[in-house]
């Protein structure tokens, strides 16, 4: 059978990995993110002073500069900043996952449904999205937080409530263009049900843009989350959340610079790595070099 020969090429995942590897900045982002994730996962075991993450206070050692015993120094309650950062990584990453998970699950299906059906359904869903889009994310999240009791969990809910709109928009736009494709017409001609077409034909074709968005948004979500906590509407002491750590350390600036700097640096580097990975992914999906 002479139709049999297929060219030998690395397929799928292996090929994608090789291409992604070529971008040094994205690789740097990936490496750093991997480190942070590891740190977060192993925090209870690698933190030198795990008790400092919650209740340990040692006022005698308050605000001591970085040293061999305390890598990043101690804060105003004498707690080891390094250990707290490790535990804070857990919280931030968890926030990103939960927030994005919720907003993705709400926004994407709504966007696909609106795009696919059009008409009244489209109008209703998109107008609701418009309403939500008119309010700045941070302000809205803060308002919700203050209405409910300020806490880390509530801040996550608040952010998710605000975040779903951009997923909705993205899914909507992609659906509008994808539903014109021939394979959708074929599917409909064969008699596929609408849910099948929406979620098994159209959705798999937007994974690349969704993935890029998820990655870039993860960074931004962490930024919003830490900002809310910084402003006092999110996590409360003694939670070792990066945002409140910056807030707490603020009073001791500029003398005891380490109390604010290191949490701030942690936020910065984490968000940066998500951005780098996201940009790399976007370039990677964009270039159709084959």
């Amino acid at each position: 059978m002479n139709e049999a020969a297929l060219p030998k090429r690395k397929e799928g995942l292996a090929r994608s990995w090789v291409r992604f590897r070529k971008n040094p900045l994205s690789m740097a982002g990936l490496v750093f993110l991997a480190l942070i994730t590891l740190a977060a996962l192993l925090a209870p075991w690698i933190a030198p002073y795990p008790q400092d993450a919650s209740l340990g206070v040692h006022f005698d050692k308050a605000l001591s500069p970085p040293s061999r015993e305390h890598l990043f120094g101690t804060d105003e309650a004498g707690r080891d900043i390094f250990s707290r950062l490790l535990f804070g990584a857990r919280l931030s990453l968890m926030l990103a996952v939960i927030v994005l998970g919720i907003s993705f699950s709400i926004g994407v299906p709504l966007g696909i449904i609106a795009g696919y059906y059009g008409g009244a359904v489209d109008e209703i869903i998109m107008r609701v999205t418009d309403v939500f889009s008119s309010i700045p994310a941070l302000v809205m999240a803060m308002a919700v937080c203050v209405l409910l009791r300020p806490s880390l969990e509530n801040s996550m809910i608040a952010i998710a409530l605000v975040w779903w709109r951009s997923f909705c928009r993205l899914a909507y736009g992609e659906t509008l263009s994808l539903k014109q494709e021939d394979f959708v017409t074929v599917s409909r001609a064969l008699g596929s049900s609408s849910p099948y077409i929406m979620f098994r034909e159209i959705l798999p074709n937007m994974t690349s843009s969704l993935l890029v968005k998820l990655t870039l948004d993860a960074g931004y979500a962490i930024l919003v989350g830490t900002s809310i906590s910084y402003l006092g509407a999110g996590a409360s002491p003694p939670t070792p959340e990066w945002g409140i750590m910056v807030a707490e350390g603020r009073h001791s600036l500029p003398g005891s610079w380490w109390a604010s700097l290191f949490p701030g640096l942690a936020i910065f580097l984490t968000v940066l790595s998500f951005n780098l990975i996201g940009d790399g992914l976007r370039d990677f999906f964009d270039v159709k070099v084959e």
Partner: protein
């Protein structure tokens, strides 16, 4: 008791003496409507695109009918309307003796098993995120109650039918060549053993050396499975070698219809002749089969707001003054089985 698979492959032989055509349409129309506002008037103007305008077609079992035309002719829309991908605006359709004009719901679903379509552009009709075996199995999943193993077997059978190796099953479309993708499309269309297959430009996007193979495959499948084809194309060379009957369309209307031999021996409508003249030929021998040199000026008019008179009037090189005033002529029978929509061709 589940029927064995070999029965799917037995040709649909019509009982002797069946005189009824497999497919029959009467004045089939498909119009698209849109509204346009032109300020300062607040009342919208309705724009009608008469994509298919009163087409009456008869197709017998085992025939190959070619629908020929350029862009805007309505040939693709006609195919999609017959396949019920879009619903007709007007007119009546019969299939296998039963009227199917307004059919909906479970009857429509049953109809889909009988009429299938192979799309143009093999790349776009296959979902790039689905595997080949899932693509071919889709109609089986929707319409038949088979177990996963049985489906797998049927997919293998179909791949064999279109001369593709079973190794392709777990692959994705991007790994396949154009010809292979088109074969997958054909396999999918044959999954439910339809009676009528509508082929929309099945070879236009393919390389020349692959086109011939696909056409031969289609011919072979027709013989083996007793299929009936409606071939939509713009390529007259293919049509000459492939079809039994030809229908030439222009701006949604049939302008000429005849058995293949007759149409090429004696093209009556000025548009048909222009189309033949424009077909690029390779050898001098071929050249002899083309009527006089005709080059049409002007653009193909858009099917929006088609004029009342003969649709071809604007570009016809043999037009008479009366053509501009008279209404759109009717189809007339010039000789047995040879219909043409031009009063001057009938004399």
């Amino acid at each position: 008791m589940r029927s064995s698979f070999s029965s799917h492959l037995t040709p649909h032989t019509s009982p002797a003496g069946l005189s009824e055509p497999l497919l029959k349409t009467q004045d089939l129309c498909k119009f698209f409507f849109s509204r346009a506002w032109k300020l300062p008037s607040l009342k919208p103007r309705v724009i009608t695109v008469r994509a298919v305008d009163k087409c009456s077609v008869e197709l017998n079992q085992g025939d190959i009918l070619a629908v020929v035309g350029e862009s805007g002719s309505g040939k693709t829309t006609l195919g999609q309307t017959i396949a019920r991908i879009i619903d007709p605006t007007d007119g009546r359709v019969w299939f296998n003796g039963r009227e199917i004009t307004g059919v909906q719901g479970p009857d429509l679903k049953a109809l889909r098993r009988e009429i299938q379509m192979v799309f143009q552009g093999p790349g776009s009709s296959l979902n790039p995120r689905h595997r080949i075996d899932d693509i071919i199995a889709l109609p089986l999943k929707i319409h038949q109650d088979l177990s996963r193993g049985e489906r797998r077997e049927r997919v293998k059978e179909l791949l064999h039918l279109v001369q593709l190796p079973a190794e392709l099953m777990p692959r994705y479309p991007h790994a396949l060549s154009g010809g292979q993708k088109q074969r997958v499309g054909i396999a999918r269309a044959l999954a439910l053993s339809p009676k009528l297959v509508i082929l929309d430009e099945p070879t236009s996007a393919l390389d020349v050396s692959v086109q011939a193979k696909i056409l031969h495959l289609l011919k072979e499948l027709q013989n083996r499975l007793g299929l009936t084809y409606l071939l939509i194309t713009h390529n007259l060379s293919i049509v000459k070698n492939f079809s039994d009957k030809i229908m030439v369309m222009y701006l949604g209307r049939i302008v000429e219809m005849a058995p293949t031999e007759r149409l090429f021996a004696n093209p009556l409508h000025p548009y048909t002749r222009a189309l033949l003249s424009a077909t690029p030929v390779i050898t001098e021998e071929e050249r002899k089969h083309i009527p006089a040199e005709i080059t049409l000026e002007g653009e193909i008019p858009s099917p929006v707001n088609v004029p009342r008179n003969c649709a071809f009037y604007s570009r016809c090189q043999e037009k008479k003054p009366s053509c501009g005033e008279a209404n759109n002529p009717d189809l007339g029978e010039a000789e047995s089985g040879h219909w043409v929509r031009c009063p001057f061709a009938l004399v």
